[in-house]
């Protein structure tokens, strides 16, 4: 991807799974549209997550916007109390630590990565699959989520031989319809 692009992406898109998804589609020669759509759909979960923490953020619109960027899965999970409210100090603190580590880690990885050699002989393609799998396990909190994952995975599997790279991933979002709740 190039060192600068990777670091800029970590600084602006502070959400690893979406970054890896975009990189995964691009490296499979998928289109810009497919890569961006997959990544943004993956980050659509930050809309409800952002809404859930909105009451502990402070200040005017700009400050709330910036504080909202610090929210990632991990800082959200750390700061969540048992009663469903959020600890502002933990949310902002964990977010800042994670952000700093993420951006510096990306720079180190991008600079050092070139020295590593052929990504396939190192098994990095499997490493990405394992990473997505581990991130998936973190998202499974309910039977419904298991069904959404099975539907999404099956759609992707069925479409890979017939469509351009990236399309199976976008089509798999149909799996989210299992989240429809009856009133």
């Amino acid at each position: 991807m190039g060192t600068l692009a990777s670091v800029v992406m970590s600084a602006t898109t502070f959400a690893g799974s979406a970054q890896f998804a975009a990189a995964s589609v691009l490296s499979a020669a998928g289109s810009v549209g497919a890569a961006a759509t997959a990544a943004i759909l993956l980050n659509a979960r930050y809309v409800p997550i952002g809404i859930s923490v909105a009451s502990v953020l402070r200040g005017g619109p700009l400050r709330r916007l910036l504080e909202g960027q610090l929210v990632v899965d991990e800082s959200w999970a750390f700061s969540r109390r048992r009663d469903g409210t959020f600890d502002r100090g933990v949310l902002i603190g964990a977010g800042l630590v994670l952000y700093t580590c993420w951006v510096t880690g990306t720079a180190a990885g991008a600079l050092g990565g070139e020295a590593l050699g052929d990504p396939e002989s190192l098994g990095l393609d499997a490493a990405f699959a394992a990473l997505f799998l581990a991130l998936l396990v973190l998202q499974i909190h309910s039977r419904r989520a298991v069904v959404a994952a099975l539907v999404g995975g099956t759609i992707a599997f069925a479409l890979v031989p017939f469509t351009a790279p990236g399309v199976p991933i976008i089509a798999a979002t149909a799996g989210c319809l299992v989240g429809w709740r009856k009133r």
Binding site: A5, A21, A36, P48, G123, L133, A145, A148, F157, P165
Partner: protein, 109 residues
């Protein structure tokens, strides 16, 4: 589009810009616009299921996907190692390194 502009807007930078803007908007919607209100349960339930559906698709395409075909190769051994590591509640880094290591080893042999 002129060639120079095309070069400037290389596909990587386009993706970086679009995804960056999209993510900032996704994260800002709640805090900036809605304050303390919550989404109605139906859209919230659907959005919540986006991440599992998409991540499962990414596992599949990354594990057995190739250019318009399914390929079952050494990656599957790496995934098996990752599953073992996840079941043992190993940290994320260990899971990823185990998958890479087993796959690399299988390709060497």
């Amino acid at each position: 589009m002129s060639r120079r502009l095309e070069e400037a807007l290389s596909s990587t930078w386009l993706v970086v810009a679009i995804v960056g803007a999209g993510t900032i908007v996704c994260k800002a919607v709640g805090p900036v616009l809605l304050g303390g209100r919550t989404l109605p349960p139906q859209p919230a339930g659907i959005v919540e299921m986006l991440a599992p559906a998409l991540l499962a698709a990414l596992v599949v395409t990354q594990a057995v996907g190739a250019d318009r075909k399914l390929v079952f190769d050494e990656r599957l051994l790496g995934i098996a190692a990752a599953i073992v590591a996840i079941r043992l509640r190993a940290p994320l880094l260990v899971v990823v390194v185990a998958a890479a290591g087993v796959t690399a080893l299988a390709r060497l042999l």
